[in-house]
Symmetry: C2
């Protein structure tokens, strides 16, 4: 089973990388961008076939390793198409 | 309009961060993980209302700033729910 985990700074936390990208877009002449949030994405293949079990493992992975939950939010998505 | 851009190392390119995470998961006793790819995620709010126009702008943003297309692939998704 394949999953995607996305980790972003919490809304109340400063996001200097997102801000820098937003400013850089203005400098290179790309208009119409209102906001950029910069985060991390992880594509994870699991041997678990059961979606509930996979979600539990992914939550553990996020809390133990991928996200710093004091300053970051995470989102877990199971992707269609299995481990393909 | 809100969009998400995901940038990953190309499949043929080494992904040391993904490999390090995979190994770390083994060390902290989380089993059943077959592969981890580590990438970047960007949430972008655009003032464009037209999905086609928004996609064009996002492609430019990826090619000019967010992705190094020699070693990285990118994916653009328009998110439902507009700029909310």
């Amino acid at each position: 089973m394949r999953a995607r985990v996305t980790v972003y700074p919490r809304p109340e936390i400063l996001d200097p990388q997102g801000k820098a990208i937003h400013q850089a877009l203005g400098r290179i002449g790309i208009e119409g961008v209102e906001k950029v949030r910069a985060g991390k994405s992880f594509e994870i293949d699991l041997s678990h076939q059961d979606p509930e079990e996979a979600t539990k493992v992914l939550e553990r992975i996020c809390q133990k390793l991928l996200a710093n939950t004091v300053v970051e939010d995470y989102e877990v998505e199971l992707l269609p198409g299995g481990a393909g």
